[in-house]
C-alpha cells in the first residue's frame, strides 16, 4: 500500500534503453526543480545489455520512507517482457503508456488510461534510437502532471552529455507534441460522443 500522497511510477524495458536514466531524470525533475521529494530505485540482471530492467520512482510532497514501488499509478513499458511481467501491478484507474512498436497489449483493464507512442521510431527519425527514453519523457509530460514540464526539460538537459543536449531537447519536444495532439484528438472524440 503506497503511503498517502505518494505517486509511484514504474518504468520497464531492457538494458541499454536508458530505463534507469529515465527514472533518474524524472526523480531529478521532482527533487531539484519542483523541490518535492523523490526516490529512484533500479532493478536489473547481471547482463550488461539486453536483460530485463526497470526503474521505480516515487514522488511525494513528504519525505519518502519506503523506497520500493508496490502498486504503481503510472506504468511505462518499453519491452514486451516488461509489460507482461508488470501489468498486473498497475492500480485500477492507473496510467499505462507503451512503445507502439515494442509492446503488444491485447486486452486492457477498462479503468486504465492507456496511451501508446512509437517512441523508438520517432527517436530513429531524429537520428538515434537511444533517445527513445527522452521522447517517452516528453510524452509523459503531456499526458500526466507528475512533474512540471520545465522541471523535466531542465532535468533532461542537465542529465545528458553536453554535445547531445540539442538533439535530446528535440526528442523531448517530439514526444510532448505527440502527446498534446493525442489529447486534443481524444477530447474531440469525447465531445463528438457527447453530442451524439
Amino acid at each position: 500500500m503506497p503511503a498517502r500522497n505518494e505517486k509511484e511510477i514504474l518504468i520497464t524495458g531492457f538494458g541499454g534503453q536508458g530505463i534507469v536514466l529515465t527514472g533518474s531524470i524524472l526523480g531529478k525533475a521532482a527533487t531539484l526543480y519542483d523541490r518535492r521529494h523523490a526516490t529512484m530505485t533500479q532493478s536489473y540482471g547481471p547482463e550488461a545489455r539486453g536483460g530485463s530492467c526497470s526503474s521505480q520512482v516515487i514522488i511525494s510532497e513528504e519525505e519518502i520512507l519506503f523506497p520500493y514501488v508496490e502498486q504503481p499509478q503510472v506504468l511505462i513499458c518499453m519491452s514486451q517482457e516488461g509489460y507482461d511481467k508488470t501489468k498486473a501491478s498497475l492500480v485500477p484507474g492507473g496510467l499505462l503508456i507503451w512503445d507502439t512498436d515494442l509492446v503488444t497489449t491485447r486486452e486492457l483493464e477498462p479503468s486504465w488510461t492507456a496511451y501508446q507512442i512509437p517512441a523508438t521510431r520517432f527517436a530513429e527519425e531524429l537520428g538515434n534510437k537511444m533517445m527513445a527514453n527522452i521522447v517517452m519523457l516528453g510524452f509523459l509530460s503531456a499526458v500526466s502532471e507528475l512533474v512540471g514540464v520545465d522541471s523535466l526539460r531542465q532535468a533532461v538537459q542537465s542529465s545528458v552529455p553536453a554535445k547531445t543536449r540539442d538533439t535530446n531537447a528535440k526528442a523531448f519536444e517530439r514526444g510532448r507534441e505527440y502527446g498534446e495532439s493525442l489529447l486534443k484528438s481524444r477530447a474531440k472524440k469525447d465531445q463528438g460522443q457527447e453530442q451524439a
Binding site: S24, T31, L32, T39, S43, L65, F66, Y68
Partner: protein, 385 residues
Amino acid sequence: MAGKAVLTGTYFMNGDEACCEGALAVGCRFFAGYPITPATEVAERMSWRLPEVGGIYIQMEDELASMAAILGASWGGVKAMTSTSGPGFSLMMENIGLGLCTETPCVVCNVQRAGPSTGLPTLVAQGDMMQARWGAHGHYEIIAIVPSSPQEMFDFTIRAFNLSEQYRLPVLIMADEVVGHMNERVVIPPADQIQVVSRKKPSVPPDQYRPYQPGPDGVAPMADFGDGYHMHVTGLTHDERGYPVMDAATQEQMINRIVSKIRDHAHQIISYDAIAMDDAEAAVVAYGISVRSARRAVAEARGRGIRAGLIKLNTVWPFPEEMIRDLAGRVRALVMPEINLGQMVRELERAAAGRCRVRLVPHAGGSIIRPGAIVQAVESALKEA
C-alpha cells in the same frame, strides 16, 4: 587539479556516488579497487573525480591488492579507501586484518549483495554483518557504520574517515545494493561545515618516537613514511617500536591496545537515533536499508494504535550493548528486521539478556523487507509478551 573536492550543492544522486563525494570532501586522495556490482559506481566516480582534485585512482588486479594498496597509501600519509561487495570483501579480509594489526587508518565500503559466493550480484542483502565483525582472524575490535540513504552515504563516509583517523584502524561502511543504487536528494554542505579529523602526528624527536606507543587516549601518534621517523610495519606481533617479538606478553600488550582503544571509546563511537520511542511498548531496532522498511512499519503501526517506536542504528560495531540492555528493561518487545536469517539479532538477544521478547524479521536477500512483515511481528510479539 581542475575540480573542487567539496561539491557544495543539492543533487539527485545515488548512494555510491554520495559515498565517493563524502570521501573526497573529508580529504580522501587515494582509491585502489576492483569494480564489482553493486559497488562499481563508487570506483567509477573516483576514477575521474580523484585526478580532478590531485588524488590517485588505481584499478588493481584484484581485491587482495586493492586492500594492500590502501594500507600502503595510508602509511604514506594519505587518506585512502576502497569499495567492494561480498566476494571482494571476502578477499580483502586478510589485509583488513593486517590493517587492524598495524593500526592503519583507512575506509572500506562494502555495498552488500546477496551471497554466499556470487549469489545475486544485482540484488540487496545484509548478509555480511558478522563477517564485518569477525571476518579477519584473531581477536580485535572493529568499527562498522550503516547508512540508510544516499545522504547518509555522504555523511557517514565522512564519519568513517574521521573515526579511522582518530582510532587508527580500518573502518567499515556496511552499505547495501539499495542504498548504493538508490537516487535521492543529497545535500553537500559548504567545505567549512565539514568536520575533518586527521591522525595525530608524533610530537617527539625521531629518536624518541615509538609508532605503537599509545597516547593518553590509547591511540599512538602516526608518522608518515618519509617524515624522518623510524618506522617498521609488520603483521607479526610487535612491540611499541614496531619490531616483531614472539611471546605471550607482547601479544597481550598489542591485543589489549587494539581492543581497548575501541572499547574505551565505545560510547563516543556508537551512534543511534530514537524515533517515536517516548511511549513505545515495542521497539523496532533496524540498521541500513531496513531502517526504511522499519520507518514505514512504525508509521503504519502507529496508525493502527500500536505503540511502536524505532531505534535506528547508525553504527553496529561496536554493538550498543548498554543502550539495548536499558531499552530491554523498558519495552515489552524488540523486533529486528534484517536481510539475512539472523545475524545482528544474536547481539540484540545477548544484550537484551531475556529482559524482553526479541523477534527477528528475516529475509534471505534479493529484496528489501516489506513493512507489513514488521508490523505483523510487532503485533504478535506484543500479544505474546
